[in-house]
Amino acid sequence: MHQQATESAPAAGAPADLGSEEFSSLYTEHSRAIYYLALRFLSDPQKAEDATHDVFLKAFRKLDQFRGESSLRTWLYRIAINHCQNLRQSWHDRHVFSNADDAVWDNAVAKTDSPLRVLETKELGQRIQKTLDGMSDEYRLLLLLVADEELTYEQVGALVGQSPDAVRGKLHRARKAFAVLFEKTA
């Protein structure tokens, strides 16, 4: 699997040479965030690779339409979320697959304030993926976006179509779901 580096991956990767300086720096700065979102949302390294390529190709074609009303990161995330959700949706249409029911987490017993401990970080990626796979698309996406330090609650809310307060409320339940499911992967 190529999604996990054995040790720490380079901070921003080598500068990409994609013809235009503006587009190259866009890719260098944001490709990891977009790839990571696609990887953990789609749960498939090959699909994530394809999605990252498609998202940046779309960005290349539409860069002149970027209005600067949001950050470039948010703009790219919006393209990526639409793309990944379309892929997931077409997959759902072909397979009868029901999402995890979020209401389950309301009564789940989990100490969300307790730290999450792992004994071996080597298999962390697999455990995280297994955990996210057990969550609804909504909670999975929420956690992945909130984990990005460059995004504010307002920006996350705009991306998922919720108010910042709603994001905070759902985040609490998403953390609880993550904690319960992560324990089960041990």
Binding site: G19, E22, R32, F60, Q65, F66, R117, V118, T121
Partner: protein, 75 residues
């Protein structure tokens, strides 16, 4: 920034804490764990190679209109 409000100081200290065992680690929250995972994830080099091919035949991206408006690097 959002994360100053998202995690308490105590939680952030816990996040920074690494246990004695070499591969063991403690994370204050799910987000902290995802952030760590993301930092250790590499974008496959094939993506940039494919992009070079895909964009090679296309005209270069036009500079964003707001950059042009601000007198950016339009030739």
């Amino acid at each position: 920034m959002k994360h100053q409000t998202k995690l308490s100081e105590e939680q952030q200290q816990v996040a920074a804490q690494q246990t004695e065992s070499s591969g063991a680690r403690t994370f204050a929250s799910a987000e902290e764990m995802l952030r760590y995972d993301a930092k250790h994830t590499t974008v496959p080099p094939a993506v940039v190679q494919r992009l070079q091919k895909s964009t090679g035949d296309l005209p270069g991206p036009k500079t964003s209109w707001w950059k042009r408006w601000l007198g950016g690097n339009e030739p």
